[in-house]
Symmetry: C2
Subunit: 435 residues, 2 copies
């Protein structure tokens, strides 16, 4: 063996980044791996389109199936994204004896078991560091660095688009729609941003982290998921008044064998490390028994960070090839037969403090009425803010609660919604007090 030969699927942002890094850092990669990595073919939909100068046009081909079965290919790098044809091509590649590197979290969150089982049958590596947190090596951390530790909780800012939008809203005091549009124009948000701003992308990533960290198989569709699209500029301003910032947070936490799993906008104390993670940066904070708090921070998206991670995975496959080993690590960190199954904790058992913004008519008895209903549902008020308004006018009433059970809070909000002076539905954002 005198080189590692790659078949590249897709030549979009990440694929082009892979070509950049393989070319720019060829010497460094060779010095670390011991051999060069060479791309022998690139499967694309359209070979005639104009592309970045780094793309070797003579390697472009349209027949992806042929490429993943090409006898010259050792490793297939999948950068197409989405479910199909990515799934079929990865399965074909494994069946043809190729190792596979992918950054496709949707694929893994949806078809993980099928793909991992195919990799085991084929005795081939299927690695996926770039699927969560772009260039942040959080998957390596959970499978290797923290392998001896018992994870208690994991907190992630793992959707770049949501964090970019909330950071800009916070910094510039501008409304969601305006910032989203700007992010779309600048290419930081997709034309259809639903997966990102709605939280599904972060939930898919969280489901991978839960598997690696807790050995829990929790479908991303079962994770409590709320998007940032309901966060108003005034929520950010009120949060600031109380000393908080709003971030889209993915939370996984162990409770006596059950796993709490949620993705939603969250108030984090200003001054906390996670509150300082702004713009396109991602961060994952873990709390584990022996290690306590660890934080991993870096660019979570973008051409080069994600491609860097994909090429580091390719080096890992190369190192395995050279040392004649494969399947050194269980795909999801735990040996299936020794894994203790953890159930998802019922969402209604989630307990945390809340930020509540009521829209009320300013009249006598409003605060008393709302406070009474909260109290009747066992919810204690910790802080309150009511901006000045003329009597009889519409005004915000902002209340921070102490720890409250999800189901109690929801029942109280239904009851409060029926009060005659409550003018529209109540904004509710969870607070994370442990960060």
């Amino acid at each position: 063996m005198n080189e590692v030969r790659v078949g590249l699927l897709g030549c979009g942002t990440v694929g082009t980044g892979v070509l950049h890094i393989l070319s720019e850092n060829a010497d460094g990669i060779r010095a670390r791996l011991g051999l060069p990595i060479r791309v022998v073919g690139i499967a694309v939909k359209d070979t005639t389109r104009e592309r970045a100068a780094i793309v070797p046009m003579e390697l472009l081909r349209t027949d992806a199936t042929e490429l993943v079965q090409d006898p010259r290919v050792d490793v297939v790098i999948e950068t197409i994204g989405g479910l199909e044809p990515a799934r079929t091509l990865v399965l074909q590649a494994l069946a043809a004896g190729k190792h596979v590197v992918t950054a496709n979290k949707a694929l893994l969150a949806t078809h993980g078991p099928e793909l991992f089982s195919a990799a085991d049958t084929a005795k081939r590596d299927l690695i996926f560091e770039a699927s969560v947190g772009g260039g942040i090596p959080i998957i390596r951390m959970l499978r290797e660095g923290l392998a001896s530790d018992k994870l208690r909780s994991i907190y992630g800012i793992i959707n770049g688009t949501s964090n970019f939008i909330l950071s800009a809203m916070t910094k510039e005091g501008r409304p969601y729609d305006e910032v989203l549009k700007e992010a779309q124009d600048a290419g930081f948000a997709e034309a259809d941003p639903t997966m990102d701003v709605g939280g599904a992308d972060a939930a898919q990533k969280l489901s991978i982290l839960l598997a690696l960290g807790f050995g829990a198989q929790i479908s991303y569709s079962d994770i409590l998921t709320e998007g940032i699209d309901t966060v108003d500029a005034k929520d950010i301003a009120y949060a600031k008044h109380f000393g908080y910032r709003i971030k889209s947070l993915a939370i996984g936490r162990e409770h006596q064998g059950e796993i709490e799993a949620r993705v939603h906008p969250t108030l984090i104390r200003d001054g906390a490390l996670m509150a300082a993670v702004d713009g396109v940066f991602n961060a994952v904070l873990t709390d584990s028994h022996a290690m306590g708090t660890s934080l991993f921070y870096g660019k979570g998206a973008g051409m080069l960070p994600t491609a860097m991670s994909v090429v580091s995975d390719t080096i890992e496959v190369g190192r395995n090839l050279l040392s004649g080993t494969t399947g050194r690590l269980p795909h999801l960190a735990f040996h299936e037969e020794l894994r203790v199954e953890s159930k998802l904790r019922t969402h209604e058992d989630i307990t945390c403090p809340h930020y509540l913004r009521f829209t009320v008519r300013d009249q006598p008895g409003v605060v008393a009425g709302i406070a009474t209903l909260l109290g009747e549902h066992g919810i204690n008020i910790s802080q309150m803010l009511q901006p000045h308004a003329a009597e009889g006018q519409k005004v915000d009433l902002v209340i921070l609660t102490h720890e409250a059970r999800e189901s109690d809070l929801e029942r109280s909000l239904v009851a409060i919604g029926e009060l005659p002076y409550v003018l529209s539905s109540t904004q509710r954002i969870r607070i994370e007090p442990t960060l």
Copy 2:
């Protein structure tokens, strides 16, 4: 193979932590590795001393050489520290066909080449994640996560004692000697703290990071090293006035094939992530071509974080044993025959802004005199502070400079020292403007 059998050298803080984790997290470790890890013997100086309840007294023995050659042992974990007998025992273990895990940065920084070569000859693993940054998996990051990237610079807060002392001085405004004594009484600092507060410990760790990140073989004794023992409480206060904090920082940076390497107290802009790393926490920030900024943060010392890292390394050895591979990764990340040798950059070429505190007699012409000499050596003043004092009395004059070359600055300070109104030697602390 139905278990991984460990011979433990030493049963002090880290050794006891290893026993804790192996016991507390036995199920989790088995589920990740596929097999249990069992300690078959523990070599100590004194088998009769009283020890923590977790220590299985029946496994204690005094003959370390016999233990490292015991046919029942697969992996030797060295937690003795220091150079001898650690070096001899590691060599004996490798020669007897054992894999070795160590947290001993002094050993690696001093005898690394000899030990790595012995491991290669014996075809055995010698891994050492816990040697830098305790539980922070920075070695894994540099060898694997960032393997495809080109490192530009690395910044570390990697000496827990120094960071603990500076954090307490900053928070409480107290003098160095008092905080050091308290840290010693509380067990956070050694009775002889020279290695820590003098910077040698951080320099040893930096030399390991430079090898892993840049492929540079730089002896720690050649690294520019200054301790925190000269930092005065008033330097911390003046730094704060200008919006900085003082941290003991290890810096490695590439300049066209040369490596700048230094460890010293450093002014870091307040608000920077690294400025928020307080107390016993460590952090390593890397800047690389594709990834940009990454930060890894966590507890850098203490029984459990270091032991966690040692046990994770033991799991790695176990995974290699099970998959029948060894030497998958070059010890220092690069293949020796492909490594490009980097020279250490001459210290006098180091260029950075400086904090200067002059002790002067308050009289007309002082500022002009000092400013003139700085200017004559090509050093520009960016900010100045002189607290009020009665004329003729001793007073501090604090000056921040723009970027200045080390050798220019030193010559200017010699000339300034000869001025009649400069009453004692000048305090000089480097500023790191890029963080």
